[in-house]
């Protein structure tokens, strides 16, 4: 490898490593410094993609054998279970990505340079410090976007045949909502950039990783808590009483029911346990009549809202990401290494 020539500049191919993209300047430095992390992310992504493509092929074999899409898979029970299992495993792994990348890529990104003094080394070269910051963040963000977009697309593609089967995954659950569309990209970007900012403030790699882990878990909890609030709840009401066989409104396929209550003639809502304690059917009927219950009122989120909710949520996360990035650049200009 020591094939250095004595002529300066322009012969930059002399020290080029055997593998890796052809890079120059600051991009070369950032890639070289973080190449272990970057290659790990790319390799893990490739393995995960291959595995999901294989799982999708298995699923399609099974479904075609069953006669899908002519035969509805609504009634499939235990036969579908091994395939459901694969979804659980994959979505759990995908759900960990924001935390893992935040802790192992985001937190050490600048904290390592600040801790070991290499920030001083890099920023005292001719290339400006803002360029260093921009390329560090930019290259890392690019890698994250490429990786998470690919995973999101392939996971969504694998899931699409059984998307409306609540027995596989509820679309409102983190397992499906946070792993498809723009959500995994935005969640990961936000967590990683926040990890970088935590590293910049703490200036110690290990401390930054620990704090970023806590932060990433909190982000997941808060996100899960507000996930349903991203949608516009649809309310459907009936006027055929509540006791009859088909009195309950029919919801669209894969709709996620949020709440159900009795509706009175005056438009009031009563809990659906009203009159539940009456001992006989007649007594219950009388009780409901006295309460003036005329039908059901059901709140739900249709699956048609899923994409809109994901984009809305992702845009909030991306706005937060932009704010943290702005902080990092202000820090880069004012607070020095």
């Amino acid at each position: 490898m020591s094939t250095l020539t004595d002529t300066p500049a322009s012969t930059s191919s002399a020290t080029r490593p055997a593998r890796g993209p052809r890079l120059g300047g600051m991009t070369w430095l950032v890639w070289r410094q973080h190449r272990a992390a970057y290659w790990t992310v790319l390799a893990a992504t490739a393995i995960a993609l291959a595995w999901m493509v294989y799982q999708r092929a298995q699923l399609m074999d099974f479904l075609t054998g069953y006669g899908w899409p002519a035969n509805s898979i609504e009634s499939l029970g235990p036969e579908l279970e091994p395939y459901t299992e694969a979804f659980v495993r994959a979505s759990t792994a995908l759900g960990l990505i924001p935390i893992l990348l935040g802790v192992f890529v985001g937190a050490p990104l600048l904290a390592g340079d600040l801790e070991h003094g290499t920030a001083k080394l890099v920023t005292t070269q001719s290339t400006g410090r803002l360029r260093w910051l921009a390329i560090k963040l930019g290259l890392t963000a690019l890698l994250i976007v490429v990786s998470t977009v690919a995973l999101s697309v392939v996971f969504g593609w694998w899931w699409s045949p059984v998307k409306e089967q609540n027995t596989v995954m509820y679309w409102t659950s983190g397992a499906a909502f946070d792993t498809t569309g723009p959500v995994p990209v935005a969640l990961t970007l936000f967590t990683v950039v926040s990890g970088v900012a935590i590293g910049v403030v703490l200036r110690r790699t290990l401390a930054a990783m620990v704090v970023t882990f806590g932060f990433a878990v909190v982000v997941q909890l808060v996100w899960s808590h507000f996930r349903l609030a991203l949608g516009d709840t649809v309310t459907v009401t009936t006027d055929k009483g509540v006791l009859a066989e088909n009195a309950f409104p029919t919801l669209p396929d894969a709709a996620y029911q949020i709440d159900q209550s009795y509706l009175t003639g005056s438009g009031e809502l009563l809990g659906w346990s009203t009159c539940a304690h009456e001992e006989t059917e007649q007594a219950r009927e009388l009780c409901l009549k006295q309460a003036d219950v005329v039908g059901w009122s059901v709140d739900y989120l249709p699956i048609s809202q899923m994409s809109g909710m994901q984009w809305f949520g992702a845009s909030i996360l991306l706005a937060l990401t932009a704010a943290v990035t702005a902080f990092l650049f202000v820090w880069g200009r004012k607070r020095l290494v």
Partner: protein, 315 residues
Amino acid sequence: MSDGTYAGGPALEAVGLGKRYRRGWALRDCSFRLPTGRICGLVGPNGAGKTTLLGIAAHVLEPTAGDLRIFGAGPGSAEAGRRTAFLAQEKPLFRRFTVAETLRLGRELNPGSWDQGAAEHIVRAGNVPLDARIGTLSGGQRTRVAFALAFGKRPDLLLLDEPMSDLDPLVRHELMGTLMAEAAEHGTTVLMSSHMLAELESVCDYLVVIASGGVRLAGDVDELREAHTLVTGVRDGEGTPRDLAHHTVVESRPSGRQYTALLRPDGPISGPWETDTPNLEELLLAYLRSSEAPPLITPSAQVPGQAHGIRAVAA
């Protein structure tokens, strides 16, 4: 002393420079000029602010007060960044990079000014293999690579913070030789902090001494030395001998009747005294030991318009 160095303006100029951390001032009221082309030693007791001063010049620290200019430009400017190289005290390098990759870092980040030949020459002179990882090198070898990186940038102003602290005498001598040869050939200005007083004597032709109160001594080494006289003799009684009293006594060391003092003479010295020009080490030690001695800043090191409250020295 030829002073053609004034022509292009100073390489570095500090005016009322100060830096305060949470625990107090690390550097205070620091004003001096470093003319272009000089090799300047920066000396002071631990905690005097040498590292802070170099950090401000290298733009890794922001001053709390005052101003510092490098060839007339602010430390954060692109021009100052391009013309300055900084070797930090801890000699930071990427531990997982090979030596060749470390030099490539210099080349990639200093397009247009990188001198691969000079950098490689310094590395090869120490028999450091180019494919060795930085993490596997000894402290001295690592310092050598850090030196190569600083030299390869071809700076007009080289800032070195304790560059010699972990080198054996042989390597120290060799690297100092390289430093002087490079500086002479390219007209590089060097500002170097060090505790090795003897080492400085052989390398530096300019000197800045800072202590908690600010700049104590600044100027051309020969001028500074000649402005002082070391007197030895036998005295009668206690205190400063009467015939020396009208000179500025920087430091006096009576031992019994034997009396030794470093003076800044004001006129000819009369009396039964043996006089000598102090060497750099004697001068530095005297100023570092006696903090109440008045500072001396020679005209070439003075910032115009700054009142120093001292007499100018006749060079």
